[in-house]
Symmetry: C2
Amino acid sequence: MQITILGGGGFLGRRLAHRLAKDGALGDRAITGLTLFDLQAPPPVEAPFPVRCLGGNIADPAAVTAAIPAGTEVVVHLAAVVSAQAEADFDLGLTVNVHGTLAVLQACRALTQGPRASGAAPPRVVFTSSVASFSGGQDARLEDDARQLPGNSYGAEKAIGELLLQDASRKGFLDAVNIRLPTVIIRPGRPNKAASSFVSAILREPLLGLETDLPVPEEFAVWICSPRRAVEWFLHAMTMDTKPLGLDRGINPPGRSATVGKMLSALEAVAGPEARAKVRHAPDPAIEAIVGTWPASFTAERARRLLGFSEQESLEEIVQGFIEDDLAATRAERGL
Amino acid sequence: MQITILGGGGFLGRRLAHRLAKDGALGDRAITGLTLFDLQAPPPVEAPFPVRCLGGNIADPAAVTAAIPAGTEVVVHLAAVVSAQAEADFDLGLTVNVHGTLAVLQACRALTQGPRASGAAPPRVVFTSSVASFSGGQDARLEDDARQLPGNSYGAEKAIGELLLQDASRKGFLDAVNIRLPTVIIRPGRPNKAASSFVSAILREPLLGLETDLPVPEEFAVWICSPRRAVEWFLHAMTMDTKPLGLDRGINPPGRSATVGKMLSALEAVAGPEARAKVRHAPDPAIEAIVGTWPASFTAERARRLLGFSEQESLEEIVQGFIEDDLAATRAERGL
Ligand SMILES: NC(=O)c1ccc[n+]([C@@H]2O[C@H](COP(=O)([O-])OP(=O)(O)OC[C@H]3O[C@@H](n4cnc5c(N)ncnc54)[C@H](O)[C@@H]3O)[C@@H](O)[C@H]2O)c1
Ligand SMILES: NC(=O)c1ccc[n+]([C@@H]2O[C@H](COP(=O)([O-])OP(=O)(O)OC[C@H]3O[C@@H](n4cnc5c(N)ncnc54)[C@H](O)[C@@H]3O)[C@@H](O)[C@H]2O)c1
C-alpha cells in the first residue's frame, strides 16, 4: 500500500510518518511506499519501505500531482496555514487552505478518472478540519449535526475544504474522512502562530522550566486531544469502512473538554507546584476573541458509537505522554 | 448610487434590472448607474440612469473587476451554473460557482482595500444561494440554524460561496446577504438545465397550451417562491440593515411549501381543467434523486420576524402573476 502525507514535515505529519515506519503496515496490509510532502522537503524517516521526501507548494497542482503518484491508496492531507496566520494574511489562507485542498482533490481524482486512471478504487483522503470551523463558544456542547458557522478565516477555509472533499466523495473521485480535530496538546517545540498556541505552552514551557503567559482565565474551557490520540484517529480514518458515513464525511472525534485550571492541576500532579507556578496570568483580548468563539465541547456520539474512534486519555496521561515522547527532543531543539 | 448585477442577463437578473430602471431609485436614494454583466453582454435596458452592458466570464478576475467599478455600492451576484449542469460538468461548476465567487470577493474587496480603495463603506453584496445546499428531503422542516449538507455539487458550491462571502463580511471586505432562494416558479422561456426545471414547466407549458412531463409524484412537495417575491427580497437585501445578522449572513427567506398536486390545482383554478390535463406522469428517477434530497420546508423565522423579508403570495397569485408578467413574452420568444 502506497501512502502520501501532505504537510508531512509538520507536527502531526512527522509523528504519523514515524508511526507508519515503525509499524511497517497499515491494518493488515504492508506499506510499500510513503511520500512526505511539505513546503521544504521533510527530513528522511528510517523505514522498512521506500520513503520519498518532496518539497513544494500545496497550492501548486503539478507539485501535488507529483506527491500523489499512480497507485497511491491513502492521502493524509495535513498541509495548512494555521489560525492566527490565516487571520493575519487572508490571501495566504485562501491560497493554501482552499486552493491547496482543491489541488489535492484534482490530483486524487486524476488517479481514478482521466488519462492517469488506473482502474483502482478512489483513494482514501484523511483531511484535518478543526474545531475552529464552529461557533458556540464556552457554553456550547455541540451535537453531531451542528452547523459550522466559523468566526475566523481558518475555520471558514476548513469548512470549505470539507465541503469540497465531501462532494468529491459523493462523486466517487475520492473517499474522504474529514476529522474536525480538537486543539492538540501538548505541541512540542516552540510556540507557533495558532491562536491556541497557549494551550500547549502553559504545559510545555513549565515542563522545560520556563515561564509562560496564560491569556485567558483559568475557567476557560478548551476541546482538546493528545498527539497520540490524533495519530490513532488518523490510523483509524485511513482504514475504516466509510459506508456508514453516507453523504456526511465530517467527524467530530471524541476529544475532551477541559478547563485551563484542570490542565494546570494535571501539570501540578505530574510535575509539582513549582511547574504550575511558572504560569503567569496575562489576559490577551485578541487571543480570547479568536479562541473564545470555538465550542468547548462536543457530544461526539457518531464517532464514538457508530464509527469506532477511540476515547481521549486523561489530562495526566497527556502530560506524561509529552514527557515520554517529546520533552528531551524539545529541550535539544531549543538548546535548553 | 451605483449598482452591478452579475448574471444580469439571466432570468432574475433581467427582472431586477427592469425593476430598478422603472423605480429609478433604491430605497430613498437615486440610482446613478447600473452595470449588467453576463457571459454575453445583456441587452440594454431603458432607464433614467446610464446602463452599461458587459460580456465576460465571472471566473475572470479582470472582467469582474471591470464590472464592479470604483464607487459601486451594491453588487447582486446571480451568475451561476445551475444544478443539473454543475452535476454533469464538475469542473465547470467549480470554475463558475467557486472561482467566480472568489473573483467577486476580491473585486469587492479592492474597492475598500488596496490601491483602488476609495474610503467608502464595504459594498453590499447580495448572493443567491439555494435550497439545494441543504439535505433533509421531503419530510424536513428546517430551522434557521440547520446544517448545510449538500447532496449535489451545485449546492456544495453555493454553501462554499456563502462561507467565502460571510467570512469576507466579518473581515469588513464587503457586506454580504446570502439568500438561500427556494425554487423560483414560474420560470418563463424554455425548460433549462436545473433539475427543478419541471416545477415551472408543469405550470408554464400548459398555460402555453403544451403538454409536459411530471417526473415526480403529485404528493412531492417543493419549497418555492415567485419571481415577483424574489425581486422584492433582492430589493430588501440590497438596502436592509445588516447589523442584526451578526456573523451569520445566511438567510432562509419565507417561501412556501407546496405539493405538486396543489400547484396543479392552482393551475386548474386559474386556467381550467384542460390546462391541468396537459401534465403527463412520467417518473424520472435521476431528477427525483437530485430534487428529492432538497428540503421541502423551512421555518424561516429569522427572515420573517427579525429581518423583515416579505411573505410569499398564494399559488393562484403565482400562476396569475406569470400570466400578467411573462405569458405573452414567452409565447413570442418560442414562436407560439
Ligand atoms: N495541531 C492542532 O492543534 C490542530 C487542531 C485542529 C486542526 N489541525 C490541523 O491538522 C493539520 C496538522 O496540524 P499540525 O499541528 O501538524 O500543523 P503544522 O503547522 O505543524 O503542519 C502543517 C504543515 O503544513 C505545511 N504547509 C503550510 N503551508 C504549506 C504549503 N503552502 N505547501 C505545503 N505545505 C505547507 C507546513 O510547513 C507544516 O509543516 C493542519 O491541517 C491543521 O490545520 C491541527
Ligand atoms: N431560479 C431559481 O429557481 C433559483 C433557485 C435557487 C437559487 N437560484 C440562484 O439564483 C441566481 C439567479 O438565478 P436565475 O434563475 O436568474 O439563473 P439564470 O441561469 O437564468 O441566470 C444566471 C446567469 O448567470 C450567467 N452565467 C453563467 N455562467 C457564467 C459565467 N461563467 N460568467 C458570467 N455569467 C455567467 C448565465 O449566463 C445566466 O444569465 C443563480 O445564482 C441561481 O443559482 C435560482
